[in-house]
């Protein structure tokens, strides 16, 4: 099953072909990158298939494998799922939107 298409965002990426093709065991989520996370990944959104029951933390680990440069900000960032506060242990559901928000400092 193809990952859900994010709508008309810059840097849209859909080629994360997951090994796990079992529909019942994986869910699709969109990951939104802000600020420095956008520089480091070169994308503002990616669509991702993750095992059912994955937490924000384990999804973050997956993202670190895909984008090792994200290591730079992973100790200083906010996570939000569907615009609500999330921490590493918050679980993701199918269709969720995980936002990765490092602080901006410019002014």
């Amino acid at each position: 099953m193809a990952a859900e298409e994010p709508k008309s965002e810059k840097g849209y990426d859909d080629d994360d072909d997951d090994d796990d093709d079992d529909e019942t065991k994986s869910v699709s989520v969109n990951v939104l990158f802000f600020a420095r996370a956008r520089d480091l990944t070169g994308k503002s959104v990616v669509s991702l298939k993750i095992p059912c029951g994955s937490s924000a933390g384990s999804t973050m680990e997956r993202l670190l494998c895909m984008f090792p440069r994200l290591q730079e900000i992973c100790k200083s960032m906010l996570l939000a799922i569907n615009e609500e506060y999330a921490d590493e242990s918050t679980l993701l559901k199918h269709g969720d939107e995980l936002a990765i928000i490092p602080p901006l400092s410019g002014g």
Partner: protein, 458 residues
Amino acid sequence: MERRAIEEEINKLQVEKLRIESRIISLQSQLNQNGQQKQLDDKNLSGWKTTSSPPYGDHGLSKELIYRYSRHLLLPDFGIQGQANLLNSSILVVGAGGLGSPVALYLAACGVGRLGIVDNDIVELNNLQRQIIHTEAFIGKHKVESAAAACRAINSTIDVIEHKGALLAVNALDIISKYDVVVDATDNIPTRYMINDGCVLLNKPLVSGAALGLEGQLTIYHYNGGPCYRCLFPTPPPTSACQRCSDSGVLGVVPGIIGCLQALEAIKLASSVGVSLSGRMLLFDALSARIRTVKIRERSLNCDACGENPIFTKKLFRSFDYENFTETPIFDLSCENLMLLSKEARGSSNEYEELLNNGKPHVLLDVRPAHHFQIASLPNSINIPLPNIEKELFTIDSALKEIGQCKETDSLYVICRRGNDSQIAVQILHQNGYSTAKDLIGGLISWANLVNCDFPIY
């Protein structure tokens, strides 16, 4: 008269007409400026404030203030009480740059009783694209003076306090303590932590905004039991993650929008009107024209600043080294600071000029991003952006081949904007067998300063 002679006469007269017209326009604008100055002088002499009538009614607003703020007073949700609260309040704006410009202008216009502005910077030409409070006439002058003058020009009935110089741990508590609300409109991480800690210690709400590139962020810290900056970011981001406008660029209107929203939130706090952004963070994405508001975490009980057992006392605060804590300098040095290479692996702009004058064949590699290279570059330089070097070594090889040189040549030079990336590039080249590649100290900025003053600096 011959037809041709008439045409010539017409042409001549038209040129003359243009000259006279432009002269008239120039004289008129001089007259207007003098007139405005005269009006200003007259006004200052008569004194706007001294013509002010006594307060009318319980709210304390004079008839002049009622007229000035009438559009606020007409708002049922704001009204005379909101305005009276605002007039009795004091707000400190830290930073008179891209964010601080609209903040200070709107706070002055809307009638905050006492408006403090802190900044240590001087107005520069390359600020004016976004720092709309400053004008060309103030280039070279202190931003605080310029901003205060602009605020007073809009509203001479409020107190505008100039805090010239940087907000530092040694003076921050004294300055912050004089105000009810603090607006963080600064451009660097160490100052952001410092303002946060100061606001927590003195129990002041902090309206925090940030902008870079095409994005902005906005929230309110330490208000109504909400989190502080340290609750959200107990660990400072590494220096590499703290981009500045002078490196990454910023579209002028982006900090303008965030600054306007900061002014709005500060006005709401000061006038006790509406629901604040505390506990939520607004994310502005100019490129996709999208604003998101995300819920952020609650106050952390383990927070070093606002938790149950905070480590910060006023005494510790005054001596706390924020630059060391964040590993980031407060001031934008905008010059080379990396020292990765030995002396032998570096050349100066003047040496490179000599080499050009001698007509020595060589290859000059420019490792800036392509969009920088498009602004201005040295003749015959080859652009390979730093991240691509290892992938494009063949380009260097073929350029060297053209001048009859091989990898080990001493004719390979590397340049960038300021002389940092060029050092990293030379290290990569050395590792790849280009054993005597050299970088140019201080980059193109040094070239413009030392050799060719016509070369554009950006």
